[in-house]
């Protein structure tokens, strides 16, 4: 049985809900050697900044149980190179591109949104709020409802009216729903969650932190329960706002878990490091998982875990019979 996998991001309809996670898929060319970038719902780029960035010193990563710690420092060539080389290439390959942007000040985010609004081939803008705010003692924007709202408001103001603006939220906050509400009030059309969780690894031989920058972002299946919890809480608080779920998705079943918690779309990140064609596999597996449960439309199961009565209504009679 073919499942209707279409999903909506604001007014934009995507053919399926599987996307790459920012920073785990480069700018497209690397993964295009192993999969068709137009096959997945959308391609999310590595965060683009205004100018070139060298990133942080090495070692930049450490393997952790069911995950990894990274501290890349947003290395990249800047928005000019992105607009000249990467965006036209993604467009030529038929990819629906979500451009992730990062900045150190509200003005930088606004400039980036304006620059991207001129170019063809941008499907949506994802705002990486997990960057230190130089105007606020280096505290990350995502940690404060006011700072997050200031960035989202500025981006919404500069972005072309028909470009959905997505706020990427950090799990390292006390009340993720409060940040989410603040972003939506400021004009966010959708919410991406979760970014990596801050972590640390100490090498017991050298007796020093394993990463040159001491701490790093934890990703991979180790953080999936945190992602499920954050998605659940935000879906509960803002049932009408589309959520792009991410955090340790390795299989179609993992993707379904995030969808049941409330995600309309699911991004694949760390898994791409050992399986560069994982997005296409996970898309196939998700369709099989839905089909096996008698689900005809993806839209029917988004956030379904929060509606105990709806579960039985949605499922086909055979599956319902098995449950009862």
């Amino acid at each position: 049985m073919a499942v209707d996998l279409r999903s909506r991001l604001g007014h934009v309809e995507l053919p399926n809900p599987i996307m790459t996670a920012s920073g785990c898929a480069g700018a497209g060319r690397e993964l295009a050697q192993f999969m068709d970038v137009s096959r997945i719902g959308a391609f999310v780029t590595k965060s683009v900044m205004l100018g070139p960035r060298s990133g942080r010193p090495t070692p930049r990563m450490a393997e952790t149980p069911s995950g990894m710690l990274n501290s890349i420092g947003l290395q990249g060539p800047g928005v000019d190179a992105f607009l000249q080389r990467d965006l036209p290439w993604l467009l030529s390959r038929g990819a629906r591109t979500v451009v992730s942007i990062a900045g150190s000040t509200v003005a930088e985010y606004a400039d980036l949104a304006a620059r991207l609004s001129d170019g063809a081939g941008v499907t949506a803008i994802e705002v990486n709020l997990s960057c230190p705010n130089v105007e606020h003692r280096g505290q990350v924007f995502a940690a404060s409802p006011e700072d997050s709202a200031a960035v989202i408001g500025a981006v919404r103001g500069q972005a072309r009216y028909d470009l959905p603006v997505l706020a990427k939220l950090s799990p390292d906050v006390t009340d993720v729903a409060a940040i989410a509400k603040s972003c939506v009030s400021a004009g966010a059309d959708g919410l991406s969650m979760i970014n990596t969780a801050l972590g640390m690894v100490i090498d017991t031989d050298t007796m020093r932190p394993q990463l040159a920058s001491m701490t790093g972002g934890l990703s991979g299946p180790a953080i999936r329960p945190i992602a499920v919890r954050c998605i659940w809480q935000v879906r509960e608080a803002l049932p009408g706002v589309p959520i792009i779920g991410m955090g340790g998705v390795r299989t179609g079943q993992d993707a379904l878990e995030l969808i049941l918690a409330g995600a309309s779309m699911v991004s694949v990140g760390t898994t791409l490091f050992h399986d560069p064609s994982a997005c296409v596999r996970i898309l196939r597996e998700l369709e099989e998982e839905l089909s096996a449960r008698g689900v005809e439309r993806l839209a029917d199961v988004i956030g379904l875990a929060q509606q105990p009565n709806a579960v039985t209504r949605t499922l086909s009679p055979t599956v319902r019979a098995r449950r009862i």
Binding site: L31, P52, R53, S54, R56, P59, M68, P77, F273
Partner: protein, 357 residues
Amino acid sequence: MTQSDMPDAQAGPVQVRGTVLTVRRVDAYYAMTLVAPAVAARFRPGQFISLAVGGPDTSMMLSRAFFIHDVRADHGGTVEFVFAARGRGTQWLAERRARDVLDAVGPLGRPFPQPRDPANCLLIGGGYGSAPLFALATRLRERRCEVDFLLGGASGERVFGALTARRTARSATITTEDGSLGSRGLVTDMLDQVIHDGRTDVIYACGPMPMLRQVTVLARRYDIPVQVAAEEAMACGTGVCMTCVLPVIGSDGITRMTRSCVDGPVFRGEQVRWDDIGTIPFDAFGAPGWEPRAHRAQGRAGAAGPAPDGQPHAGDGDATAGGRADGAVTDRIAGNGKPKAVPIGRGRAARRLGHGG
């Protein structure tokens, strides 16, 4: 990030399910042969393969990268690589048996450029870093090059391929730190003698970073071009994770934090700013406070002074030889027949070898 584009799809790597043919112990190391015809068909010496480890429910999320030792035509095409079982991932690999299936991506990275004309080639390997040099030696001999080996390790059982080197090469010099095989010491101790004896035109090296650094320093004194295959820790091998970066000087004279997986692993030795590994050089592209200085980039050839670490930029004097094209080595070889007798300083050579990987 460099300006290089990805290789086109035909020549690029493939993702395959490879069947284990054999896993065997070779002295202190393991050699695994994988049936992977598509990888074998695309292979060129210096390239590597990346493997997922631990099975479908693994807790190890990062792939493991290994230089390809050799490819063969049997079973449709096999790939062999050498590794030390040092961590949980490599231990798991060592426990694989025939007919087990592994997820593999390869061949990855830029291969060793080879001279167009016959030349005297010195191949230097530390530990099992020598593994990628044997396929290179075969290709070089096909081009009527003379091949000399200089291999080293902590002990005799940690010098990979000593016997093959002795059997196949014009000369093979072995050094071990404990003196259990060949002469006692480091490969760099024997380097000037081997260069003199073999009238070396070009050097290829693979092994631990300190060895590659020292080989580059010594080769520069003789004005011999050196190609190094660097092993930096990487999470993906395909160019997306940005963890395996090294400070590398581009052909435009600008230092960039360059991915060793897609823009390497083979670099010209003098391109790598060895003393700055583990840092972001202040003049690196995009470093904190960095500003585009077009005039400086354009007018730097000859005008720009050496970098603070004492390593000249590619724009200076004799370091300008060629780009990364296959002809680069031969460009450097011209006029290099007679090595200059330059005293070899000890510097920071006293580092341990044989710990590659």
